[in-house]
Amino acid sequence: MTPRWYQHWWWVVLAAWGVVACMAPLLGDAINQISLPRMFAEPGAGLWLGADELGRAILPRVLAGAAISAPLAALVVTATLIFGASFGAVIGWCGGTLELLAIRVMELFQAFPGLLLAIALAGLLGPGLGNVALALCVVGWVGFARLARAQTASLKHREHVLAARALGTPSWRILLIHVLPLMAGPLLVEATFAFASTIAAEAGMSFLGLGAQPPTPSWGSMLREATQFLLIAPHMLLGPGLAIISLVMAVQTAGERLRDYWQAPASLSPSLRSSQRRDSIIMTR
């Protein structure tokens, strides 16, 4: 079953947000242009998403928000991926008491409801996007580390790894050349889902006032402003709300497609792959 045309929506959305995030700096000062006469103006011609409490047009602010959320999420995911995967791979490779100890530490981190720990950390460190990123990093690495440890622990008994060891290849080289490429797929899938949840978490923390501070047009802080004027200007929800939902949905779908790609056994014909797809998505959730 080849995907229908509308099943490709996700990468159109992703590409659109990518372009927007790259072009956003071109908007310049337009995002902070205060115009009190059009305060709380409703959406209409020339002012597509309306205006906010200071009469700033919402559309350019939503577009500029992409240049804050996406790079921050990318930074957090890259940092946690690198740290988590190396940590997990090393302890999985070493094994023994060190591994058991590290597993306990990782379980400890996972014993906290993730968002709660990030909120507490960001609250203690003080408001600001940098602290939000730091808090999300502290919470985020564990997922990658667990995955990399489990993968390494099973891959290190493969014959090609044993052969490399017999030839006297140093451990770091084996990990880098013989183990890492085999677990790159699952790690990439995990990173895609982590990207989606990081975008949502950053927006949530900015919504609580812990992240971006005014007048930075982060989606979360725009929604925070919108809820303050919910009774007089409900349209302020529309832009940032749709932005978060569309981006998160597209990234999650991308993650699911990537997972299908790596999970379906190569022996299956493409048609069988796609019919098995949904079940495999669900089983691993």
Binding site: R104, E107, L108, A111, F112, P113, G114, L115, L116, L117, I119, A120, L121, G123, L124, L125, G126, A196, A200, A203, G204, F207, L208, G209, L210, G220, L223, R224, A226, T227, L230, L231, P234, L237, P240, G241, I244, I245, V248, M249, Q252, T253, S275, R278, D279, I281, I282, M283, R285
Partner: protein, 317 residues
């Protein structure tokens, strides 16, 4: 020794070791929470009181929090007080923190409970219909619901529901916790994400059970479909769903912080945010500790229940 007695002893030992692990996790959690206050950049006393505080005030706060003692002494002291359930007093109101928690926790538990109920009400029909008609429109509808539900953040859904049901239609209160009706909107907000995951999990579990030979046997015996569904399918599919349920509860408790803020629901989530805003760090620590400990205990309970329902599951693992 009779066979069933051995089995009981074995499962009892496994349960005990699971509880021991939970105890160790609780100890670790409280250690991490202890470290939290030392993470504050600079002097925590300065941060809490502000720059303009007098030297005497600072010194008394330092004494009150026990921050002048060496770290190891503070650590032991912290656990001794924790054992007596003494969490200190709020810096703002001087109220004992344990009382604050006791007054707020019922609201959060009520909200989470109603949200769980809503999530089940949503997930059951979507999951069952999707599993009975895989790859057909009920399934696609379920997949769409799960995708949208998983991507809809609490802080968008909550205000949206307020605009529709409280402002436009005027059916339900905007926020607060004045009447029983107040819980509907926050619980609905909190339940959507959980319902999305549960419905897909239920679908997968059902599809797994539907392929089992004992179902064909039941059909061959001429049992009506509703009986098969109730007695053979749903019961066996309940277990994997239960496991996810326990795991997702953490997301529910974390998400409650945002949802409670949106609706001004006087639970632990708003208490956490208030503590952050007022720099009332002892209260913040207590909130994190309490919510995380609840999460660990619920997860342990879920594991024990799953192991009890299905002895093949190794509860120690």
């Amino acid at each position: 020794m009779p066979d069933h007695l051995i089995r009981i002893i074995v499962s009892f030992k496994r349960a005990l070791s699971r509880i021991a692990i939970a105890g160790a996790t609780l100890f670790g959690i409280s250690a991490l929470v202890f470290c939290l206050i030392h993470l504050i950049p600079g002097d925590p006393v300065d941060v809490m009181l502000g720059e303009g505080a007098s030297l005497a005030d600072r010194e008394s706060l330092r004494q009150q929090l026990g921050l002048s003692a060496p770290l190891s002494v503070q650590f032991v002291h912290y656990y001794l007080k924790l054992a007596e359930l003494d969490l200190g007093v709020s810096l703002q109101t001087q109220q004992p923190i344990i009382e604050l928690l006791a007054s707020r926790a019922p609201y959060t538990f009520a909200l989470a409970g109603v949200a769980l109920g809503f999530a089940l009400l949503l997930a059951l029909p979507f999951g069952i219909c999707a599993a009975l008609r895989p790859q057909r429109w009920p399934d696609h509808l379920g997949a769409g619901f799960a995708l949208l539900g998983g991507a809809f953040p609490n802080f968008v859904l909550g205000p949206l529901l307020i605009v529709i049901f409280a402002v436009q239609l005027g059916w339900l209160p905007i926020g607060g916790a004045d009447s029983a009706r107040s819980v509907v909107l926050p619980a609905a907000t909190l339940s959507l994400g959980l319902a999305a995951i549960l419905s897909r999990q239920l679908r997968a579990a059902l599809l797994g059970v539907l392929a089992e030979p004992y179902l064909r046997a039941a059909t061959a015996r001429g049992l009506p479909f509703s009986t098969i569904l109730r007695r053979h399918v749903l019961r066996n599919a309940a277990l994997p769903v239960l496991t996810v349920f326990g795991l997702q509860l953490g997301a529910l408790l974390g998400g409650a912080v945002i949802t409670e803020t949106v609706f001004a629901w006087p639970g632990l989530g708003t208490l956490t945010i208030e503590a952050i805003e007022r720099r009332d760090y002892p209260v913040l620590q207590a909130c994190i500790l309490f919510i995380s400990a609840t999460y660990v205990m619920i997860n342990t309970l879920t594991d024990l229940v799953s192991a009890w329902c299905d002895p093949r599951i190794d509860s120690a693992g």
